[in-house]
Symmetry: C2
Subunit: 100 residues, 2 copies
């Protein structure tokens, strides 16, 4: 691993850790109405390819960070999907607690 890869690791750590406060916020509010479903789906597809790219390039900064991002963004996607499936289009959602 060379010096440039350390910049990538910091960038990767930042971008990866960035999703943590989002997951905490979404976990508490159980609301992902402001998120675009298309965006979340494309992000999941994109990070999947980055993992592949990072593995081929032997660049841990890329595959490791994107792997974690894939999981964290996957949680937000799951909350969004629940909202989409339970109450189609309603911005207020249901008072009924989710299954957990």
């Amino acid at each position: 691993m060379d010096a440039i890869e350390y910049i990538g690791l910091v960038a990767s750590s930042l971008a990866t850790l960035a999703f943590l406060p989002q997951v905490v916020k979404t976990w508490r509010s159980r609301s992902a109405n402001d998120f675009s479903l298309a965006t979340l789906l494309m992000l999941e597809a994109g990070t999947s390819l980055w993992i592949f790219y990072g593995a081929l390039r032997d660049a841990p900064a890329i595959w490791l960070g994107n792997g974690i991002t894939f999981m964290l963004a996957g949680f937000i996607l799951s909350v969004k999907m629940k909202t989409v499936l339970l109450s189609t289009g309603s911005p207020t959602g249901r008072s009924k607690p989710s299954v957990r």
Copy 2:
């Protein structure tokens, strides 16, 4: 540019285009309440470093994609900031139109 870089370009295009439906949605709703401010700030910092990394690695898949993501996520951040500054904590916001 080698073959692996093409995978990176597709990944980059996906991750970059992913923010377009989000920007359209946020532009229409003018609502970014469900977004974590910390997340947006860290994403902007992260993409800045990725641009630097991509430039040093001479990898257009990285610096080009992150450059556009930086701008698109910047728009969502600006909507979030407006909400934070105008109505601190209020999920309904103001009826007064923004300055534009």
